[in-house]
Amino acid sequence: MTATTANGLAADLAGPGLTLVTGPFRSRIRARLATVAAGLASLYPPDAFEPATGFADFHVALDRPVGARRWYRPQVRFRFDGREVFRPLPRPQAYPMLEWGLNWCVTTQINHYLLFHAAVLARAGRALILPGEPGVGKSTLCAALASRGWELLSDEIALVALDTGHLHGLGRPVSLKNAAIDVIRRFAPDAVIGATCHDTLKGTVAHLRAPRRGALQAADAACPTWLVFPRFIPGAPTRLQTETRERGFFRLVDNAFNFTTLGTLAFERTTDLVNRSTCLDLTYSDLEEAVGRLGSLRAVD
């Protein structure tokens, strides 16, 4: 590896590639795009990068398509194991495409963890799991909690170990969309937010660098303790109410990526997770209040 500056990363990405270590996964990345190097340099800690040697879970590349789209309305394409798995996107979206692509790698290739569409944070080794489909406000809430002392494990994909049932960290930036970008800028003025990218399929997006502590400890695991289903509703008062475990189970399974693939093992691990957690339903519009309510949660042993 040359260095972990944007220029150094750009040289490695354009040459032999580099290994991005995020939680338990190693991604081998190649790209001849300066915006990708700049994004990686600004959003990951230096110790997330390793030379392009040894085993990697995922081999990905971002490059320019051949033909007219190399120059006219230039595009970028994402390749996994040499295969183009998405349609090309406008080239300014190269960095978000890398993050989305890495999410795709985890959710489609990994079955040695039980995976849920959920943000996960932790406090003193106890995990707060926030499942939800896109748009419910979980990434915003996740970013806000991470800026107020919670350790960020993941904003998008919960990794549940099949043997222990513990939550493992993914060590990736938080994906912020549209109004949430300025909301977090106001809520956490010291937060490091990468370049803003407009007109994507998800609207305007930007990524929040994981606080250093979370990124460093991403390999640690946390015990499932709170299972909270958040929903942002404009103007709604903050309400944190008990959810039944039965409903909690089905709501969680609705957000599973590989429940069917893992079958009985997934059922046993999910029921165990639900039984070990306090299940709650959160509706909010005031981020400060929501963070305060979640901050006052206590573990029931």
Binding site: T244, E246, F250, G263, T264, E268, T271, D272, V274, N275
Partner: protein, 87 residues
């Protein structure tokens, strides 16, 4: 004299108490079923005593026998348990 019906839990079924209910997962179909606690108790009794369990005989009253039969029919409908046909 009617032969008492006997039952066996589908070996692909696992179940677990969650909250005040029982969730049963069928490893063949991949379906998860939400059951009452009493249905879960029946599954456990059948599984623990598959050779002897015969609800009509075991029930303390006719009303209890009817309730158990109704629950067993529902479990059978969900393919969680199967009737054992007397040989």
């Amino acid at each position: 004299m009617a032969v008492p019906q006997r039952w066996i839990v589908d070996p692909r079924v696992v179940w677990c108490r969650v909250g005040g209910s029982v969730l049963a997962y069928h490893g063949g179909s991949g379906d998860t079923h939400l059951l009452t606690a009493s249905a879960g108790e029946l599954l456990a009794r059948i599984d623990a005593d598959a050779d002897r369990f015969a609800p009509v005989v075991d029930a303390a009253s006719a009303a209890e026998a009817a309730a158990m039969t109704e629950t067993l029919d529902a479990l059978a409908e969900a393919e969680l348990v199967h009737r054992v046909v007397p040989s």
